[in-house]
Symmetry: C2
């Protein structure tokens, strides 16, 4: 990585952590740069303004989710439904270790920004469609392998699973337990999907 890319990545990484904790509107650029140890002038070399930084941050978060989805998709010793289940299970474990702090950075930004900034909303919408597409791919493969009952349309189900997960994360924040996430795991993978396999 070149020096310039390193600086940019450092700003994004630091911003990602702070904004995940405190939200976009409550976080000042100054705070991010101070924590990253980068002078203010450098910021405007990489980003037009705070909004541009926020939009690039969405891609930064998204790349993390894409690569993790790709990692689980490639676990060849597992069924496709189990690969998807393990993808969520890692987050459940991490959130349990982190005492339920933070939740999903993309879900948080959606709640905070979707009604007030149309560029954020459009960007987040695109990213969720991408993530949904990747979840759909696990389900299409499970469908081909007859792991998934033909009653389920992989696209519809991927949409439903992603939304249900986001809702479980919101309830995790309110209850300060991972029980909503474990409820999601049990209902989706044991009751709804698994038992259908035996039909």
């Amino acid at each position: 990585m070149k020096k310039g890319e390193q600086t940019k990545n450092n700003i994004l990484q630091t911003g990602a952590r702070i904004i995940h904790q405190s939200g976009y509107n409550s976080t000042g650029i100054q705070e991010v740069l101070k924590s990253a140890g980068v002078p203010k002038g450098s910021f405007y070399f990489y980003f037009r303004n705070k909004q541009d930084f926020g939009l690039q941050l969405i891609d930064y978060y998204a790349d993390f989710f894409y690569s993790r989805l790709d990692y689980y998709l490639d676990l060849k010793q597992e069924t496709f439904l189990n690969r998807l289940r393990l993808f969520f299970a890692e987050f459940i474990q991490e959130l349990e270790n982190n005492k339920c702090q933070g939740g999903c950075p993309l879900g948080n930004l959606s709640q905070e920004m979707a009604d007030i900034d149309e560029d954020f909303r459009e960007k987040l919408n695109q990213i969720f469609l991408q993530i949904r597409g990747k979840i759909e791919y696990f389900l299409q493969e499970s469908s081909k392998n007859k792991e998934l009952s033909p009653e389920y349309d992989p696209g519809e189900l991927a949409h439903f699973i992603l939304n249900s997960w986001q809702g479980a994360l919101l309830q995790m924040k309110v209850s300060k337990t991972v029980e909503p996430l474990k409820n999601f795991d049990r209902l989706i993978f044991e009751t709804i999907l698994n038992s259908r396999r035996q039909k």
Copy 2:
């Protein structure tokens, strides 16, 4: 309703509308009182401070959801699963009419406040448990009537349905369509619950 109760109710009703649109932290008490046409002194007669107002507002929102749940629970000509489905269908219709603005006031407050105010978090957690209990009651009755497959535990399922609905509302904000809500309706009531009835 006595004059004092009317004034208090007027403040809560006006605050409920404004905070649903703009969020709790962005809304000033002054703005609520001006819009309600109530002098500032009156506010401190009914509420200790803004936080006390916010906590009472949660009850105000909750009462609305409780009474709507009770209304649908009492629709004797419908099956219990259909009564629950119709409860959600009315919100889907309203949100479609309102161009997907607002979402769930309790979900919004959760996202905004759960990590930063422990009194809000506890209050919201209690209210969601109450709402979940009411949804569970529809499902217990459907279970008794054999509308619901015995594989489903009504409490687990009520938890899951409430969380999935909250997640669908979040995705509605991002996509600015009611498609996530219709996806929730189809998956829960047609694919997951209805087809099991025929087992």
